[in-house]
Amino acid sequence: MADKLFLELVSPEKLLVSSDVDNVFAMGAGGAFGLYPDHSPFCTELVPCVLTYAIGQETFKVIVSKGFLEVADNKVNVLAERAVYVKDIDAAKIKAEYDALSAELAGEIADEEIRKEKETALKFCETALNI
């Protein structure tokens, strides 16, 4: 029986995490879930949320926007369109982005896909500001 999970969290901009962890918690399309070693193979779509993982006594928090999570053979792959450590959040920048997105969404956006993308970005900002 394995006692660790190997977590790799990547965004298009960089590889954020690549290490052995004790557990991973996140929010998927079907709700919140937790992963421990020897979890059954599982793949889900992620929604904007705070992904947490623990290494020993230390807990790390990463804000992720939409993406995918896959676990198999004690390896967890997280592909996030955008990801940032809570400790690295630039509150002023996120607030400015949040305000700009709110203003845009209050107006007319003809393209449904663009609207959805902006809503996801807004949720990401909301999650980052509320932490």
Partner: protein, 286 residues
């Protein structure tokens, strides 16, 4: 024959140019290091995404149903995404990729080719030759964000789904090393997934289900491929510019050496002439 003063002026001019090329080389070297870092950081994401798609497709028995996998019976219109730089002075970097893209249009003469240029050089080249430009993506100065790739990806995905494009191809420079960039051409749509392999984990659980996951994953894969090509191109551009500027600096150095030699010869000749004049003058006075 040019006078010593003319040659001196030319030497000054060439050494000023040499200063500029030397500075450009150093700037490109710094930018390239940063661009390589960004490019390498993006690689794991696209690799993982490709793995995941392969796994999902295997799960669907190699017959995953999605509009992106469907090859059109008759290919009439091809969208060609050409990634170049905005600026020049980078040797054959742009001309290589443009040549490959132009050859592609010649090979597919019987089809309508529409261009999606990423970078000013590609836009100028194809607009001048009368090709239809679907939408241009220029003026980013090599600072692409994932959002820019999403915008290009959205355009081509939509065009493929609503039938405006029957195929989408991508041509760009892949960064191999500072001195080597290789032109890559690949078909973006319809997507080709290797079939025949067994799923790695038979009892996989999907949430919500494979089709919904593919719906989100595949456009993301297209966006990532475009983003990766943009980053490779930026790193390659700086590498090519660095080499081009290094060559220019060296050539300017050689030119200065020749000009100095010439200048000295001219100066020597002037002194000799002057001496002769003096000697002749003295002789005449005797």
């Amino acid at each position: 024959m040019a006078s010593a003063r003319d040659i001196k002026r030319k030497i000054n001019s060439v050494s000023n140019t040499q200063k500029i090329t030397k500075t450009m080389k150093m700037v490109s070297a710094a930018k390239m290091r940063k661009a390589i870092e960004v490019m390498q950081s993006a690689r794991p994401y696209s690799a993982k995404l490709a793995e995941l798609i392969q796994e999902l497709s295997n799960r669907a028995g190699g017959n995953a149903e999605h509009a992106f996998f469907e090859a059109k019976e008759e290919v009439r219109t091809i969208y060609l995404v050409v990634v170049t730089s905005d600026k020049g002075l980078c040797g054959a970097f742009n001309s290589n990729v443009l040549k490959a893209a132009y050859n592609f249009t010649k090979e597919h003469k019987d089809k309508t080719i529409k261009i999606v240029p990423v970078g000013k050089r590609a836009f100028d080249f194809f607009a001048k030759r009368g090709f239809e430009i679907v939408e241009k993506w220029i003026g980013f100065g090599g600072k692409y964000t994932f959002n820019d790739a999403v915008n290009v990806g959205r355009l081509i995905s939509k065009s493929f789904i609503n039938g405006n494009a029957d195929e989408v191809h991508l041509i760009y420079n892949e960064f191999k090393s500072t001195s080597s960039q290789v032109v890559r051409s690949k078909k973006l749509l319809p997507l080709a997934v290797e079939s025949g392999s067994e799923p790695s984990y038979p009892d996989f659980e999907y949430e919500p289900d494979v089709t919904v996951l593919l719906d989100s994953l595949l456009p993301q894969f297209i966006n990532t491929s475009i983003f990766q090509s943009m980053l490779e191109s930026v790193a390659g551009e700086h590498g090519a510019r660095m080499v081009a500027m290094d060559n220019a600096t060296r050539s300017a150095g050689e030119m200065i050496k020749k000009l100095v030699l010439n200048y000295n010869k001219t100066r020597q000749a002037a002194i000799t002439t002057e001496l002769l004049d003096i000697v002749n003058g003295a002789e005449a006075l005797k």
